[in-house]
Symmetry: C2
Subunit: 395 residues, 2 copies
């Protein structure tokens, strides 16, 4: 290859092979990795999780919970999954395995729940015991007070901390930010669940130390508020901090550290504008409203979030890996702590996973590889899950 | 090509051919264009301009002014160019042709001017009459009070408005934003030229209606202040407004409309951080400091700026075309005016000119094609100027 072409090597090698091919190699600043297909053909995969026994579970948004065993997608979905409201951004969404799964076999699912007359939907969470190929004893542990006829901004990521608490994101159901005075938007209204992060015991009970339990005008499940559309949620494996990605509209996407009782400002403050360009926010900042640690303008459409820890990519340890829908890449955000304050290192250009299209979810597998669910292909075509593997000896 | 690969077509066709090849085709949302090589091999091209007789002039940063006549780069540079301080970001920089060139034959050049002892440099502008292959009567019309031993952030774009005034960008010479209290940074100091847009008559005289002429503590050449590194400057061909691109540090790149007397905030307010992540700004906004119309975080490294007008790409009319250095793309920013306020439409992903590396300058030629000077290739390899042409019949 001639010298002049070298700067373009990253692009050349990023060229996706037909997705049935096994792998291609891509050079990046911090060393090369290989993208391998894990599951070639799913329909709208949305979330991935692993059982202690090694199986990978995958949600398909139309309402199926799938099992990948020994690298092979099992034909039969797991039974017992609730009926979902599939459409728009809704359907079967996130998936979490209880930290004590080995003893209690509990699986948690978030989804778009239809109303009895099927005209509206909200975000709900169920749990059930995985027995054979069926969820048993399925019970609802949370139903958001966030009903809407709309099919956008449900949330709804799930994450367990190290103390048995379950965190759930509920998005703002796409309520027009200017339909009411900004301070009265549902995301700012503590009597509603729109635009909130929720904290519960693993059985749905409300923890006595939640920040708003003593307030008569607030729903006690609320942990933080002032969010728009939260599609990534992860605990930092080293620090135990909770982090979330949040979609802005046109610009103003965010990566936030989620801290007890925090107001993240939507739609009062922020850095984006309405699709098309009209203003949204009263200002860029306000006392008492938390600013993001990293923001993206123009938008990347931040989806799944993982914070890397593992020995496959030691140089990426402590980096947030943020999936981009509109951005068509994975962003790696080096998270730093300086005098107790969050800072971020420089983001590499053009990002990781260039050429693979929209990215829906990112998880670090128990094997230390980085698993990536691509977003639904146009025309209902099958969608793969791939993984990033270091290229041996070339680091 | 199989259906599943279709979303990737843009990437596939964006793959740069070896740069000696004549063209490749790239599909984008708004229609296809072709990238053709105009001049295959220059050294650090920085600016392009056209004479009424059709020749294209090009500055090469080491200090050469070149001519492209009938598509052919002339071997002999134009003589009479001043000695430049070539190094870092400095050298021979921008180029402007006087609006009345046909009668006065005046060419304007901005450059990094060495001090007499060659230990320091500043930004300066000369003009001279193009006679044959030589600039005659070369005279300095501006020397910035912005001396520094450093080799970064000189500016220095040039643009004539429709009334014979010349605008010049002078950047902040990379003075550490936290080396002094933010409000006393040179970019905020009206007694210095760092971080300013300058407005002069075409012969260097100071217009009597410049905003700070009456202030004893201010340099009268100043038109606007509070800038960091301004590497793109263009008049809007329809509205006559002046626009500029500005580099942030890590994040916080800007596209600004430049209005008389405005303070653009650097380093008091902004949206970026120091390289590495440390905070810079006191806040994100402040009364009396103008906010950008479009901002970029993470940075794209905005370089040359053109605002499109022409019949080759009618759908791009009124769009700002912003070169990205670090961003490795050209951004198209649809500029809108709603009730007299600036708004921007949505930016396409992944941008234009993906796969061509860093972009230095963008100009709309008299033929309506979009000319793009790529940035210096690694290792001193030759650098091309290319142009975007619509693909006939495929719009």
């Amino acid at each position: 290859m001639s010298r002049i072409a070298e700067p373009f090597l990253a692009f050349l090698l990023a060229l996706p092979l037909p997705l049935t091919a096994q792998s291609t190699t891509l050079r990046v600043e911090r060393g090369p990795y290989r993208v391998s297909t894990v599951v070639p053909a799913l329909q709208d995969p949305w979330s991935m999780a692993w059982l202690p026994t090694g199986e990978m579970l995958v949600t398909e948004r139309p309402g199926r919970l799938r099992v990948v065993r020994n690298g092979s997608l099992q034909a039969e979905p797991i039974a017992g999954v609730p009926r979902v409201r599939y459409g728009g951004q809704g359907g079967l969404l996130d998936l979490a395995v209880h930290p004590d799964f080995a003893s209690n076999r509990l699986i948690y699912l978030s989804y778009s729940k239809p109303s009895a007359d099927r005209t509206q939907g909200t975000t709900a969470v169920v749990r059930g015991r995985l027995e054979g190929n069926r969820l048993e004893g399925v019970e609802e542990i949370f139903e958001a007070r966030a009903w809407s006829t709309g099919e956008a901004h449900y949330g709804s990521r799930l994450a367990f901390d190290g103390n048995g608490y379950l965190f759930i994101t509920v998005s703002d159901r796409a309520v027009d930010p200017l339909s009411v005075p900004r301070e009265q938007h549902p995301a700012q209204d503590l009597s509603l669940h729109q635009g909130k992060v929720i904290r519960l015991h693993d059985d749905g009970r409300i923890p006595a130390d939640n920040p708003f339990v003593a307030r008569q005008d607030a729903l006690p499940e609320i942990w933080t508020y002032g969010h728009r559309s939260l599609q990534g949620l992860a605990f930092h494996p080293e620090t135990g901090e909770l982090w979330a990605t949040e979609h802005g509209a046109q610009g103003g996407d965010e990566l936030n550290q989620i801290v007890r009782g925090g107001n993240y400002g939507w739609p009062v403050v922020g850095l984006g504008v309405q699709y098309g360009g009209a203003p949204i926010h009263a200002s860029r900042e306000r006392e008492g409203m938390i600013q993001s640690v990293q923001h993206w303008t123009p938008s990347i459409g931040p989806s799944g979030l993982a914070i890397y820890s593992g020995d496959r990519f030691p140089e990426w340890s402590g980096s947030a890996l943020v999936g981009g829908l509109a951005g068509l890449t994975m962003a790696r955000v080096p998270l730093l702590k300086v005098d107790g304050e969050n800072q971020v290192g420089r983001l590499e250009r053009p990002g990781l996973m260039v050429g693979y299209g929209r990215i829906r979810d990112i998880r670090v597998g128990p094997d230390g590889y980085i698993y990536v669910a691509l977003d639904d292909r146009p025309g209902g075509n099958p969608t793969p899950i791939v993984r990033l593997e270091p290229v041996a000896g070339a680091q």
